[in-house]
Symmetry: C2
Subunit: 257 residues, 2 copies
């Protein structure tokens, strides 16, 4: 059974589960893979707020508790559809908590999966843009994973990050977390500006480095730049983990690592 840490945010959890089903070879209900999703959004504090030092409680503890429950419900592998939760300050505590509790469930690392995917499938690409929350931006989650593999990483200026990209996700009026269905046009507009900025700086691909971004952007390519969706990559990695025979054949932008 596949486990999903939902709730961070709620719609990103659904997006991951949907991408698991979308990428599974199944013609009948009974041919789909079993999955459990726990959306405990009320109990998991904001990841960026924690990384910025504005709250003291590490959301890792609540996330580890959700993963424990997923394990108890029968999951053998789990995915966390929240990029910011993969910063070392959070992800390492999740892993040590699970170890302490004796949880043997495997937690895939969405950032690592994305870097491996890029390496295996886009050999021509050397410069990669990343759009994300300010928490992911400042803790340099993608920079570390990509630079260690030889990529040059392009991110928005701090001003653009704080005025355009973070608000596209968090703004109380138009941010995706506040308006997910449908997404507010302003959120999409801000993100498109981010893609253009990365392209101007020479990026050949841009990673949607926050799981809210694919709720607004479904294109594989925008303005000649390849768009990389870590949620879809994680979905396929989860399927591959439990039953690689169930994985749908590749389509553009969703090749295997």
């Amino acid at each position: 059974m596949i486990g999903i840490v939902g709730g961070i945010g709620p719609y990103s959890g659904i997006d991951l589960l949907k991408k698991v089903f979308d990428n599974t070879l199944a013609g009948r209900d009974q041919e789909h893979l079993d999955a459990v999703l726990i959306s405990a959004s009320s109990k998991i504090q904001d990841r960026t707020e924690y990384l910025m030092g504005r709250i003291t409680e590490n959301p890792a503890y609540a996330i580890a508790e959700v993963i424990h429950k997923l394990h108890m419900a029968g999951a053998v592998v789990a995915g966390i559809p929240c990029n910011t939760a993969h910063s070392l300050k959070i992800f390492s505590v999740i892993q040590s908590e699970l170890k302490k509790n004796g949880d043997t469930i495997v937690v895939l690392n969405m950032i690592e999966e994305t870097a491996l995917y890029l390496q295996a499938n886009h050999s021509g690409i050397t410069k990669v843009g990343v759009l994300s929350t300010t928490g992911t931006y400042k803790s340099k989650i993608y920079n570390d994973a990509l630079q260690s593999k030889g990529y040059e990483v392009i991110v928005p200026s701090l001003e653009m990050q704080e005025d355009l990209i973070h608000p596209a996700i968090y703004h109380s009026d138009y941010g995706i977390k506040s308006k997910s269905n449908p997404v507010h046009p302003q959120a999409k507009k801000n993100l498109i500006e981010g893609f253009s900025f990365c392209k101007q700086q020479g990026a050949q691909a841009v990673i949607m480095g926050c799981t809210e971004i694919p709720l607004a952007i479904s294109e594989d390519e925008i303005d000649g730049i390849t768009i990389i969706d870590p949620t879809a990559i994680l979905a396929r990695a989860l399927i591959q983990f439990v039953d690689s025979n169930k994985l749908k054949p590749n389509r553009h932008g969703l090749l295997e690592k």
Copy 2:
């Protein structure tokens, strides 16, 4: 915590969870309601096949086991987004299994919720059409619930049911269970014919009496006929059960019972 019996079908489980989030007053992740969804599609046999006598294992046992797991994960109320599972031959066994296991979780009855909603919000309506699987059709789930409240119920002819409506859900090439994302145009075409038939027979509203149908039809009204979505009604009933203050104000077609 809200519990969802997913997997019957997989996308209907997602649809219910999404409608829970869509109908919740929340501007931040932390303001959403907690939920757990278990999609155990591989373990739950087809409901129509059982009702038709083509398989002997009652899917009620596997569904009750999922509800037990939802309860263990912290759910106090559960919804089953599958109309056919509400036939008495299945639903009564689910309830007796839960009682036997001492599970105190409340399971809402989507059919009852839909009938109560109709009564409370569409007082002018007396003739109601129902489109469904052949399992729901033959076990007269909606007929019983609606006729006892004084409604006249209109369903397709048996020929139309078997040649158009059931295949829109189950056909191996174009049925919604086989092609959910995106839905095949043929499935939608068949369903629209079903709505037209109900209208010709005098129906003022049509219930989408299979949770796969709202995956193809998102309109509140088609050709002057009101479309009733039991998945959305169940979503709102689940929110109301755990925290009525979190329920979004009514919009057309989503009034309270």
